[in-house]
Symmetry: C2
């Protein structure tokens, strides 16, 4: 009998073997497979919900928080939404095989680049079982084999969903082995997975900061990680105050637990007395706690019903993931740029201003995956940017930056058509 590590290695080899054929599978076959997944999510909802119920009851029994239980729970309507998302991935254009930059050199060689899948993607994720379907669908669409490793808390749901995917795609003509699922939740298998750089071309961790750090430190293959977003919104002296209030409110409050939510609000001194009381009053309605520097505190302290806390050094550069914002009054655009340079995590940064030169400087000078003028940082998202679903948001500079969609799971190879050329 195979040991769990040997089983994992066999899954890796099977994924690699499948990836060779997956690489040039037609869009037709891949889309058929996605439609099969979507259909089966509805047809087999009984099995999936029953498996999910086991996870839910175990979570409840182990004292999981209501928020966590909510993330874990599947329902008929949630399955319907997941099935719809798979159809949306099927409807995306297939980038694989695109040939570009093709040209004829003076010696007659025809040289160009062809978009190809990366090969085998490893996905390590937590909690929401829909990630099993979402990542499998994006990998399939982009012609990659995938090895899925979900969290212990959703093992029954994930196992059932992975089995569904495996059966659905083989029916469409996808090579056996293209979708692998690790059904053993032993942490040692993750350690081994992260060593398999002869098999896995890219690892994507999706979850909390702890998971991302663990994977980044241990992985011996490239990791595209992000997830950590320390996002600033800078209110310039010439901002339209109404827009600036609405944007800061949206960026902080609309979904405070995610990486593209506002963490620090910077305000030009010349507009701070007009602007701060208004945004503070709006934020207060939503229960936002403000960690203010001295100048912001001086402006706001007489205002009743605000949750004000004097800011400490640790508030700058902190990702709050909750209804807390750091607030700082700055003397100039330059000071704002320097603050962002120092404390930003390279995720999403915004300026709110009506002054043209301030926009152009901010967009030029801020070094982040997504740089906004006059909009909420909450738009940093593959779906919002029109990429379809995303496997994550990269704050790295190499390969791909910002939301990672189907195309970001590909690479290229040079193809050269010759007629006997040799190098002189």
């Amino acid at each position: 009998m195979k040991s769990p590590v040997e089983e994992l290695e066999a899954k890796g080899k099977a994924a690699k073997a499948a990836s060779r054929r997956l690489a040039y599978l037609s869009a037709e076959v891949k889309n058929k497979a996605l439609h099969n997944i979507s259909d089966d999510l509805l047809a087999k909802k009984g099995e999936i919900l029953a498996a999910n119920q086991i996870d839910y009851l175990e979570g409840e029994a182990s004292g999981m928080s209501a928020a966590m239980l909510d993330r874990l729970m599947l329902s008929e309507s949630r399955l319907g939404a997941i099935a719809q998302d798979v159809l949306a991935v099927a409807a995306l254009p297939d980038p694989v095989g695109d040939i570009f930059d093709m040209r004829t050199l003076p010696n007659g060689l025809q040289v160009g680049k062809k978009l190809v899948p990366l090969g085998v993607i490893g996905a390590i994720y937590e909690s929401r079982p829909n990630v099993t379907i979402g990542i499998a669908a994006l990998c399939l669409k982009s012609g990659n084999a995938v090895i899925l490793r979900g969290g212990k808390e959703a093992i029954h749901s994930n196992s059932a969903l992975a089995k569904l995917v495996q059966e659905a795609v083989i029916g469409a003509g996808v090579p056996d082995g293209a979708v692998q699922f690790i059904d053993n939740t032993d942490r040692a298998l993750v350690d081994r997975l992260l060593e398999m750089n002869d098999i896995i071309n890219l690892v994507i961790p999706r979850g909390g900061a702890g998971l991302i750090r663990f994977v980044s430190e241990r992985a011996t293959m490239p990791v595209v990680s992000g997830g950590i977003g320390v996002c600033h919104t800078y209110i310039d002296q010439s901002a339209d105050v109404a827009k600036a209030v609405a944007i800061a409110f949206n960026a902080k409050v609309q979904r405070p637990t995610v990486c593209n939510a506002l963490d620090s609000l910077l305000i030009h001194a010349d507009i701070a007395e007009r602007y701060l009381p208004l945004v503070a009053a709006e934020w207060a309605k939503a229960g936002v706690e403000m960690h203010c520097d001295k100048r912001a505190l001086a402006i706001l302290k007489s205002q009743p019903s605000l949750k004000l806390v004097p800011a400490t050094d640790e508030d700058w550069g902190k990702e709050f993931l909750s209804l807390v914002a750091a607030v700082k009054v700055v003397a100039s655009l330059d000071e704002a740029l320097e603050h962002i340079e120092r404390y930003g995590s390279g995720h999403s940064e915004a300026i709110i201003t009506e002054e043209y030169q301030a926009v152009m400087r901010f967009l030029n000078e801020v070094d982040a995956a997504c740089v906004y003028a006059n909009a909420s940082t909450r738009f940093t998202d593959g779906g919002q940017f029109g990429l379809g679903d995303e496997v994550g948001i990269s704050t790295q500079k190499l390969h791909a930056r910002g939301p990672l969609g189907v195309k970001e799971l590909t690479t290229y190879k040079w193809i050269i058509f010759g007629s006997g050329q040799v190098r002189p």
Copy 2:
């Protein structure tokens, strides 16, 4: 007084500070700086050649091989060629600032991508002093700051060249600190450099396999490495024999010490008896030693004056970097594809055939940076592909594959022009 490590850290900080301004420096200023470098290489040739003479004499005294001494040596004509190469980089289009994929979303947000430099590049290289100029020029053109660390054997030449570059670029308006040179050859500084992932965005090792392995294993930031090329040329049954002989001869003999030279020759069994004696006779004139499998040996053994050695398992997948080739007769295109899949290093692979379907299968199925039909693998080179000079050849899949030119030293950021949009 600062310790060498503190000095290195100060150089890193200076490079990072410079990179912020370099990122949006105009092409005009950068090209002016490159012209200054080119001019100074001619104007200051006396100083440079004097410094090079010290390295040369030290190398000679320490028993350096003639080949190594030749790589180390500069001359007036070599300086002239280097100066010309710098002008060629200046003449390349500047990709930085290119805006692409820009579109207006239904909510009115204008979203697109803008090409920006990576930031700070670390370059660790050996022997040839021209690399100091070559990498500095490509980094400058692409708006990156650079920290150069050349080999001990060329320290005087590299110091003089780095000083020349630093002076030349400041005269053009490039920010101070953009080009850093580590003038201390203590290995401990390389260790520290490879830890500076808060400063350095990408490290490029350029040299032998030992250097590349060392840097890849130690670096805490992304490394683009390649250099190791186990290159196959497969002679299909329908190959044009004359072309196939000329291509294999060129790929093995024209410059055997480089990564894109032929290592293994695979021949379809149906053409082996016609083809092998011809290529062997040509190779013999150049002194090529052939490590043959049994079938190849049987065909060639009666031929006089060949250097034949029975192949061992270690010959497959070996980068020879010399006038040695592994030779194997295969039963089919499939066997060739499987052999390349197993033993290739993902660098450059070629098929020689007149059959259309064989070309299409080979280009589709071989997973390598550069896949050729009917041409010599020796063309894998930034200059040959029209990228201008190259900083190296990547055999990785992420970010960039194959020759790395100016554009491959950039990344992009998303830029978003809004008018008050918030996420619903």
